[in-house]
């Protein structure tokens, strides 16, 4: 409980709330688009670079099981999301697949927030976690886009959508940063450290302020999307997150690492996936998939999900063999 309140009083969560309030007041506050893009580039590179530097210090064996677990969730989560949406939620084929694609992929900001939260709780997560993000970004989208390819007639350009995801800027920046950090190593990284490490939390603060403003417009669409999707957007991450903690601890992750892993797996992409789905599944309704991943799951994870995952990880930790 205290941890929860603590999380709500953290600057980045408060920034997110300020963004929502600003839009609710119809303030003309507006982030210039290039600032939003620049911070995106910065955060992805910074996460990649730090991860790469850490990776250069990690024995590769420790990394194999978590990587496998990531691929596993990349394949399983979009399928479970699809089945729930299609058969419990009665959504049509394209909308089910469209929403599912988002939950197969990953929200980088949720990942970052989890890393920060874990650190602020005095724990830490494995240095190779950003590598897992890069691994997780893609398979979920592919799997989910395959489903309508097999069943639906309403096909858009899946090939184009995949190329877009694979060479998308988030993958390039994240894995590019990883590679550079890995090659350069800790010593050469020193020169750019003040920029990429010192400024990180502040940049994240600005980013969440902007995300709060964007989320606000999604919140307005909540009534259009119905109560099922709201429940789905909260319960699915809890389900996926809990599974991720168990599998993550099994795969050898620390408590902090398992918490971050849960945040990754349970989160829904809100950048790569929407663009890919819009191209590949034109008839899927953007209001549904954006509201679910950005309007419900994202704020839930930031404010409540991550502390809950840590709580679960801390307790399950003792039970597991």
């Amino acid at each position: 409980m205290e941890q929860l309140i603590n999380n709500f009083a953290s600057p980045v969560v408060l920034a997110f709330i300020l963004g929502i309030i600003a839009k609710a007041l119809k303030s003309d506050l507006d982030f210039p688009k290039p600032l939003y893009q620049s911070i995106s580039i910065y955060l992805l590179l910074a996460i990649g670079l730090k991860g790469g530097v850490e990776l250069s210090k990690t024995p590769m064996v420790e990394f194999a099981w978590p990587a496998l677990a990531t691929v596993f969730f990349g394949i399983v989560t979009p399928i479970s999301a699809f089945l729930i949406l299609r058969y419990l939620g009665k959504f049509d084929m394209d909308n089910s697949a469209g929403i599912a694609a988002h939950y197969g992929s990953v929200s980088v900001v949720t990942f970052i927030a989890a890393v920060s939260y874990v650190e602020s709780a005095g724990l830490s997560s494995e240095g190779f976690m950003p590598t897992l993000v890069a691994i997780l970004e893609i398979p979920g989208i592919i799997v989910a886009l395959m489903i309508p390819l097999l069943f639906s007639k309403n096909k858009g350009s899946i090939g184009k959508a995949l190329h877009e995801v694979l060479t998308g800027s988030s993958i390039v920046l994240l894995s590019g940063g990883l590679a550079i950090g890995f090659i350069a190593g800790p010593e050469r990284f020193n020169s750019i450290e003040p920029f990429f490490v010192g400024g990180f939390q502040g940049a994240l603060f600005l980013f969440l302020l902007e995300l709060g403003m964007i989320t606000a417009s999604r919140l307005r669409d909540l009534k259009k999307t119905g109560v099922f999707l709201v429940a789905f957007g909260i319960l699915l991450p809890l389900l996926h997150g809990s599974l991720a903690i168990i599998v993550g601890l099994w795969a050898g992750l620390s408590v902090g690492g398992a918490t971050v892993f849960a945040a990754m797996v349970s989160s829904g992409s809100y950048i790569a996936a929407p663009a890919a789905v819009r191209i590949a599944l034109p008839s899927a309704n953007p209001t549904l998939y954006l509201t679910a991943s950005l309007g419900i799951t994202f704020p839930f994870n930031i404010a409540l999900g991550i502390p809950i995952y840590l709580l679960i990880a801390e307790n399950i930790h003792f039970i597991l063999p």
């Binding site: 939003y36 184009k160 929407p274 819009r278 034109p282 954006l290």
Partner: protein
């Protein structure tokens, strides 16, 4: 100076279609195009790419024939599911063969 009468095709579409539209315009026979950022409202609401700027405006100077083909393309492939409008206007250019 002698002017040639041509058509200007203006397409306003959600940003996510950018690369795809450019490719298809070239395939359809456009000799060039001009593209710029815009935003706006119409009958369709939310965009998937809202983060990255809302709409794009693409303009193509073209013969009547090509103009009709482009309108057909947009109409058949994009009108139903995407936020997009297209309109034609009359223009005059010198050295009209550059565009045909």
């Amino acid at each position: 100076m002698s002017y040639v009468k041509l058509k200007l095709v203006t397409i306003i579409a959600e940003r996510v279609l950018r690369n795809q539209l450019i490719e298809e315009l070239k395939e359809t026979g456009a000799k060039g195009f001009t593209i710029s950022d815009a935003s706006g409202e119409g009958s369709r609401g939310i965009r998937a790419s809202e983060f990255e700027g809302r709409n794009i405006r693409i303009e193509v100077i073209s013969s009547i024939d090509l103009a009709n083909k482009i309108v057909d393309l947009i109409q058949e492939k994009y009108f139903l599911h995407y936020a997009v409008v297209v309109y034609l206007s009359d223009i005059e250019v010198v050295r009209g063969d550059k565009y045909i």
